[in-house]
């Protein structure tokens, strides 16, 4: 008995000294988390903060990165866009974090851009966005328009035979840019001006009756009609409710949404919505072991059997694993070394494939179309045969057609104009100029 005890003691002492040694050798890697925990965006961003904390905890249980533990530094930018920039500065200057995972809205990202470029930080941005940007210091793990909007429109046109289009969105930069891209794309395909209806509504809009009635009217012209929705956030709930109440079934006028995920559906009775669509790169219902493991871990972490996962969470999962791999590859957390090492890094995604970081700081993703089911989940009805690489500069916007982005030497430029052979201002400078 006593010998056993001695051995045990000895072992734990050994373990202690080893871990002490490791800790003494290097400080923990600091991971900044820049997500709103209060204000309007808390609804979406809180889950992302929790995801990051879970991933960090898991990585630490595996022994950290090269023996270095990770430490989360959480700040709350409170859904206040200028505060995002201040908090980013605080993370980089005061807390000296090695990397930041954060932001949801494009406007908050634009506010952070000049700071991360000035202080040479690393930012992983996990949400689908309008594209038209590529910063040396930002890694875009969410979908660019060609990884979500364009394939969704192709699906509607080819599989459902849609000829008339309603582009409905919330009135801000992401829907406006996406709809501009889609409008050009549709017109290039020969869709007439009169077969496209565009409608914008403010954030948090709840009185959908006359718009839904307009859509109904628009849909009775004899051609198959679909709604492409970039309606953001909780305005979706009354929108879908109104669709149900006015009796628009998914088999008459399907709605394909780019901002409605499992989280948003958790707030509504999905009975009347069965069959409406969403385009994402991940669904919680995806049948893969990696996904089930992730969901189980998430449910255990949250201690809530009903906790849901969604697309931006997967983006953080991919981004985090890419960062881990890049640090291991570079052998250091030095920002410039990691920036170079991460290009070309491939990690498993949750849908059973791999995601690769491209030279334009966007990643490869499969595109999935899912139909809403009555349990608030999506069932995948279509997916691209292979992954699609994110395109920073859309081919369907006049200004950006000629731009490419490649952060490898020797080009090292986020917006290289292939016609004029020049490199434009950096994304951060651009954001500052736009703000003025």
């Amino acid at each position: 008995m006593s010998i056993k005890k001695h051995v045990k003691l000895g072992l734990s002492a050994l373990a202690l000294s080893v871990s002490f040694h490791a800790m003494a050798a290097e400080d923990p890697i600091k991971v900044g988390i820049l997500h709103s925990l209060s204000g309007t965006m808390a609804i979406s961003e809180t889950a992302l903060k929790d995801t990051m904390e879970m991933l960090i905890e898991q990585q630490n249980a595996k022994g950290g990165i090269d023996g270095r533990q990770l430490e989360a530094v959480v700040v709350d930018p409170a859904s206040n866009w200028p505060l995002f920039a201040e908090k980013a500065r605080e993370l980089l200057e005061k807390e000296k974090v090695d990397v930041i995972f954060g932001n949801w809205t494009s406007v908050s990202r634009k506010s952070v851009l000049p700071v991360v470029e000035e202080l040479n930080g690393l930012l992983f941005y996990p949400v689908q966005y309008e594209g038209e940007e590529s910063s040396e210091n930002v890694f875009y793990t969410g979908a660019a328009p060609n990884q979500q909007a364009i394939p969704a429109v192709d699906y509607l046109k080819n599989e459902l035979g849609v000829e008339r289009w309603v582009l409905a969105g919330t009135d801000y930069v992401y829907p406006r840019t996406t709809n501009k891209i889609l409008e050009t794309y549709l017109k290039d395909m020969g869709v007439a001006e009169g077969d496209i209806m565009i409608n914008y509504t403010p954030f948090g809009y709840s009185d959908w009756q006359s718009i839904v009635s307009d859509i109904k009217k628009f849909g009775s012209a004899g051609k198959k009609t679909a709604v492409v929705s970039t309606i953001n956030g909780d305005a979706n709930v009354p929108f879908y409710r109104e669709l149900g109440n006015q009796g628009i079934a998914s088999s008459d006028i399907p709605v394909v949404a780019f901002s409605v995920g499992e989280q948003e559906l958790a707030g509504i009775d999905t009975g009347p919505l069965v069959g409406h669509l969403a385009a994402w790169n991940y669904f919680m219902s995806v049948d893969s072991d990696a996904n089930y493991d992730f969901i189980d871990a998430w449910i255990d972490y949250k201690g809530d059997e009903k906790a849901v996962t969604n697309d931006p969470m997967e983006a953080h999962y991919i981004g985090f694993n890419m960062y881990v791999e890049a640090v291991e590859k570079a052998g250091t957390t030095d920002v410039d070394a990691v920036k170079d090492a991460i290009i070309g890094v491939s990690v498993p995604n949750l849908t059973g494939g791999y995601a690769t970081m491209m030279p334009n700081h966007h990643i490869t993703k499969p595109v999935l179309i899912g139909e809403i089911q009555d349990n608030g989940q999506f069932s995948v009805v279509w997916e691209t045969s292979s992954t699609v690489a994110g395109d920073a500069w859309s081919d369907f916007l006049p200004g950006s057609r000629d731009l490419i982005s490649d952060w490898r030497a020797p080009l090292k430029c986020g917006n290289f104009n292939v016609k004029s052979g020049t490199c434009g201002a950096s994304a951060g400078e651009q954001a500052l100029a736009d703000a003025e």
Binding site: E159, S210, K223, R241, G244, N245, A266, E305, S379
Partner: protein, 552 residues
């Protein structure tokens, strides 16, 4: 390649379809038959049918559904229903097709679709869903509607006839025309005639087309209009001209309906505004307290509805009705607490009151975020409040909004009664007109303050209960309504309940008239500009307070 080529001639007579529908009889039969069959399940032909359905590729799926319908099995309808609702899955190991009863969480409850026996729970990792998409679902709806047309329940029949619109093809025209020989309720007959006419217009010969246009001329259904629109741009000039004519006459009818619809939309938006503002009309209008936390009192009412539904699972209707008094109480108590702790100390200092109550509103919002959740809560709409009241093909009034309009009017009437006919109302008016005089007449002004503020807050809670049915229940609910509420009260004339009613309804209507051609963002701006201009002309709103009290 029609949908109803599945319904082979054998099964295309009414008898066969009818047999499918006779579920009760079928069940008895099934019970009798399944007793010996149960011991050797493989003998059940249903198993092969379901496996066939689950295995089918997208090209074979038509045939698989056809086989199920053809089998004449009494359970066929349930199977197709389960399939259409994404509820059929296969067990990965055994390949057995099961019906998923509950698909939430890690373990799903499954049942045997053949016997209906509950098979307990199974990990979702072991299950593979039988895929269905919109295209298949659309066809399936057609098949189910065709089955339902033979139902004895007129309501089911009517729904089925509605679903047939635009889904008729060569294989069902005959049985449908045959069905018309039967004695059918009026609306069902009309719908079937119209749906056949739509088919004839698209596929029939010249004579049938001409006849079809006559049938469709009066129709307001959107599918009928779609078919006419297509005919109007068709190759045959004579037909196109007639279709155009029919469209013009329909368009005229539609105009009336659209005007009625806009009015209804306006009234419903207006009633929401009235509900949100009427509590404020008391606290701000009558008492003169600028309460920026008014929106959060609305939010509390909405959360009470959610809480009540959590307490009474499965009875959303009852929970909603009980929430009316509960929401009033919760918001009233919260209002009184705010009045006692903050507002009473800031009497006569409007700027400080404004700032302090704004702080209270932020505290309440964050409290809800921390204690309950930053996420929106899902409030279920009871069955009797969802859907819409169909007036005709072009005009249907959504039920939830109709209830809200009614509720707003009832609340308004109740408040008017309290203010005009009760002692409390009298005291409130006395205290607000001349506090010192009222006190010297023996009115306990402090008590009146508490009660009035409680009343106004409680009404805000009622608004929350109603709003939970049409908007999101979340921490930001109140913020979305506070500006509108002040707008309505100021526009209507501070201190005048009638003004609030009229202002709310007219602002709602103006907004809905502007919205279709200006867009929702611009419409809102235009309404604001309108109010600013109006207030310039008449600073005291629609119904200014008159008399000495107003000047004092």
């Amino acid at each position: 390649m029609g949908i109803f080529r599945w319904l082979t001639p054998l099964c295309l007579n009414a008898l066969c379809l009818k047999a499918l529908y006779l579920k009760p009889l079928g069940l008895v039969l099934l019970l009798v038959l399944s007793l010996p069959a149960h011991s050797q399940t493989e003998a059940d032909p249903g198993q092969a049918l379901l496996t066939n359905l689950a295995d089918a590729s997208s090209r074979e799926i038509d045939a698989a559904i056809e086989a199920i319908v053809d089998s004449g099995d009494p359970r066929a309808r349930d199977w197709l229903d389960a399939f259409g609702n994404n509820r059929l899955s296969r067990i990965k190991d055994t390949g057995q097709v099961v019906e998923v009863l509950r698909n939430v969480g890690r373990n799903w409850t499954i049942a045997d679709p053949l016997t209906g026996e509950n098979l307990g729970e199974m990990s979702r990792r072991e299950l593979d869903r039988v895929n269905i998409n919109n295209a298949i679902r659309g066809k399936l709806e057609g098949v189910l509607a065709m089955l339902d047309l033979y139902s004895d329940d007129p309501e089911v029949q009517e729904k089925a006839a509605e679903a047939m619109m635009g889904k008729v093809n060569a294989s069902v025209v005959k049985p449908l025309t045959k069905l018309l020989e039967r004695d059918l309720p009026g609306p069902v007959r009309n719908r079937i005639e119209e749906s056949v006419a739509i088919y004839q217009l698209e596929q029939g010969d010249a004579e049938a087309q001409a006849q079809a246009i006559t049938v469709l001329t009066g129709s307001l259904h959107s599918n009928a209009r779609a078919a006419l629109n297509n005919a109007a741009v068709g190759d045959d000039p004579a037909l196109a001209a007639r279709a155009q004519e029919a469209l013009v006459s329909i368009e005229q009818k539609l105009k009336m309906n659209r005007a009625a619809e806009t009015l209804y939309f306006g009234l419903s938006l207006g009633s929401v505004l009235v509900l949100a503002a009427i509590g404020l009309a008391i606290t701000f209008g009558v008492m003169g307290v600028i309460n920026m936390a008014h929106g959060e009192l609305i939010m509390l009412g909405a959360y009470t509805t959610w809480g009540m539904q959590q307490l009474l699972p499965g009875q959303p209707g009852l929970a909603l009705i009980l929430s009316i008094p509960a929401g009033f109480l919760v918001a009233a108590l919260a209002g009184i607490a705010i009045e006692r702790s903050v507002i009473q100390h800031l009497k006569g200092r409007p700027l400080e009151t404004l700032l302090a109550t704004f702080g209270v509103s932020l505290i309440l919002q964050q409290l809800v975020r921390t204690v309950i959740s930053p996420l929106n809560r899902s409030v279920t709409t009871p069955e009797w409040m969802s859907g819409s009241l169909v007036i005709n093909g072009a005009l249907s009034l959504t039920l939830n909004r109709m209830y809200v309009i009614g509720f707003a009017l009832v609340v308004f009437a109740g408040l008017m009664l309290i203010m005009r006919k009760t002692r409390l109302g009298l005291e409130v008016r006395a205290v607000t007109q001349n506090r010192a005089m009222a006190r010297s007449m023996g009115i306990r002004a402090t008590r009146v303050d508490i009660l009035t503020f409680g009343l106004g807050s409680g009404v805000a809670g009622l608004a929350g209960v109603a709003l939970s049915q049409i908007t999101n229940v979340g921490p930001n609910l109140g913020q979305n309504y506070i500006i509108d509420s002040f707008m309505v009260v100021v526009f209507g004339g501070v201190g005048n309940l009638w003004g609030t009613l009229l202002a709310g309804l007219s602002l709602g209507t103006i907004n809905q008239i502007l919205e279709p051609w200006a867009g929702s963002v611009l419409a809102k701006i235009m309404v604001l500009v309108l109010i600013i201009l109006f207030i310039q002309k008449r600073p005291k709103g629609l119904f200014p307070q008159k008399g000495r009290a107003a000047e004092g």
